[in-house]
Symmetry: C2
Subunit: 334 residues, 2 copies
DNA sequence: TTGAAAGCGCTAACAC
DNA sequence: GTGTTAGCGCTTTCAA
């Protein structure tokens, strides 16, 4: 049989409520009594049972993590690392993280179980998720934090990447290396982050008095994978646009660009330099290795948990946004 | 306020116990009563609360997923996909999956919380995990299923890859293509699966009357990454061992071999053919793309959940092992 | 076949 | 400061 709070109370010679008080640090317990209780807990290897506690406090002790399924089914390391970060941080807040994926077009019957069963105290949403699910959560008054995505409207709490500063760093770096003819390759302009990266490119180029006309911006692709990068670079090259450096909106695009350049016997970085964004595995397995912007993925997950648990506890207000800095990592491609 | 079973009972005009009976399909409820209850549930959007249920049934409704931290901190897609498979399957069994990672050298204070708090009804362990943690789980009589790992002793339930058959397929395929001089590159011989792959190589070679002496087996590396593959291939090439095909124990090793061959101006597959194992992203992003053995990762996760829930329910016996077939996927490298 | 009632282990009023 | 006690929402005897 399991050891319960009653047995601890008996062992320590106090009432169950006293044990509960020391367990929850709700003060007003004498030092001596506390010591006795703590000893009894230690001796009996007691651990409070979550379901019993949850029943009365109406807190599950769980956080939900919702991810759009196509992000995760590709097992994108980007999101895997964010998730990992939440898991790790959640331990120190004594939360469990329940992960679930959700389809792009979100049907009612697809509502995550933990929402239906009210089995979470708060929710983290990573990447682009359907607007409907965010509304659903908001309607129910469930605290939530978004990661790397902010819907067009509504004032949500979020952990965001400093995209503008990242691209600024990349462009400045290239300019310092003597490059003047840059081309930006972006993807999925539906994602606000992608748009920020593109806009930052234009702005930074303008600040340096360099041209960033339409011919130097490839950002039509709906996807943002290696194939799209390859295609975009190919087009730039065959169109004979003068280019000495590519600024890619992420590492996958950059690796595609890399391949296209290699196929055209362009030496990297001598003939063409390339920068990526995100710093996922691709960036270091690529040949040459990729100069890119390091995004602290685990840390973003951790920040989300920390913010969410503060919102739940009422020590932070819903609507708080945290902008995470990125850092240029110089490798062989520039 | 939340909808409770009481309100459903009132709405349906029956007792709470009756509602509970239809909820748990414990029979003996008239069709008419059942219909009324179901209607009330539907109307009120009732969902039983897990903690209340768990308190009395002594089941948490959770499954634990334990992964050695170095597998996951690399965000290895292999394990990510397995985890994803468990998550997906768990839904249909109405379980939640709690993920945790654990260090190689497992200290007592590192025991997963869900074990301490008895917050899981069963545990899945993926990849190589410390023997101590497996014992700990067994001692507590907690049902568990291992994935892709079977400790030297003890009769555990497990989902295993048919490594021997996989390597046999690869070797046979190469022989059919006319290759006679094969070299096997393995890693981490501590892992039983890796040893199986190596042994299968020797056996299959012998069956075809081909040499598989020590010079044709590189399996000392403790790690099994691209760097180790690169080093092993380099040594083979510089030692002037006659080789027309490499059989790698996984895709990472294979991609390292690929690079080494390219660096030495060996054409693939004309001069040298290469096969991998696992079929992770690497296999399709590599140039040329990699012929490899497809391991159904998501399916393995699903199988683990299915087996585990059967063991919990008592409809499968602990100690059951499931051997998952693999399939050769031919790409450009052979 | 259905209902009444006793807990599951815990927290939180409220007494003392 | 500490103890008594009433539930939290559910399942499960046990009677009817």
């Amino acid at each position: 049989m399991n050891v319960t709070i009653r047995e601890v109370a008996r062992e320590a010679g106090v009432a169950v409520s006293t044990v509960s008080l020391v367990l929850n640090r709700k003060g007003r317990v004498s030092r001596e009594t506390e010591r006795k209780v703590l000893e009894a807990i230690e001796k009996l290897h007691y651990h409070p049972q979550r379901s019993a506690r949850g029943l009365v406090t109406r807190h599950s002790g769980n956080l939900g993590f919702i991810l759009s399924s196509d992000h995760f089914s590709n097992a994108e390391p980007f999101y895997t690392k964010i998730f990992l970060g939440t898991e790790f941080e959640a331990r120190s807040h004594d939360y469990y993280v329940l992960l679930t994926t959700i389809g792009e077009q979100f049907q009612e019957k697809e509502i995550p179980r933990f929402l239906l069963e009210k089995n979470v105290d708060g929710v983290i949403l990573a990447g682009t998720v359907p607007a409907r699910i965010i509304e659903y959560i908001k309607e129910r008054g469930l605290p939530c934090v978004l990661i790397d995505y902010l819907p067009p409207s509504g004032n949500y709490s979020a952990i965001l990447i400093d995209n503008a500063d990242g691209i600024r760093q990349a462009v400045t770096h290239l300019i310092e290396k003597g490059h003047r003819d840059l081309v930006f390759v972006g993807g999925d302009s539906q994602h606000p982050g992608m748009r920020e990266r593109r806009d930052a490119f234009c702005r930074t180029m303008a600040e340096h008095g360099l041209a960033a006309d339409a011919g130097r911006i490839c950002a039509e692709a709906l996807l943002s994978g290696a194939q799209e990068g390859f295609d975009a670079a190919l087009q730039v090259i065959t169109n004979k646009v003068k280019v000495t450096a590519f600024v890619a909106a992420n590492d996958a695009l950059a690796s595609g660009i890399l391949r296209a350049c290699r196929d055209h016997k362009l030496r990297i970085p001598e003939d063409v330099a390339i920068t990526g964004f995100d710093d996922v595995e691709t960036a270091i397995t690529a040949r040459p290795t990729l100069t890119t912007l390091h995004v602290p993925k685990e840390e973003m997950g951790a920040l989300a948990v920390r913010l969410l648990s503060q919102i739940i506890a009422g020590t932070a207000s819903a609507g708080t946004k945290i902008l995470v800095p990125v850092r240029l990592v110089c490798r062989e491609s520039t």
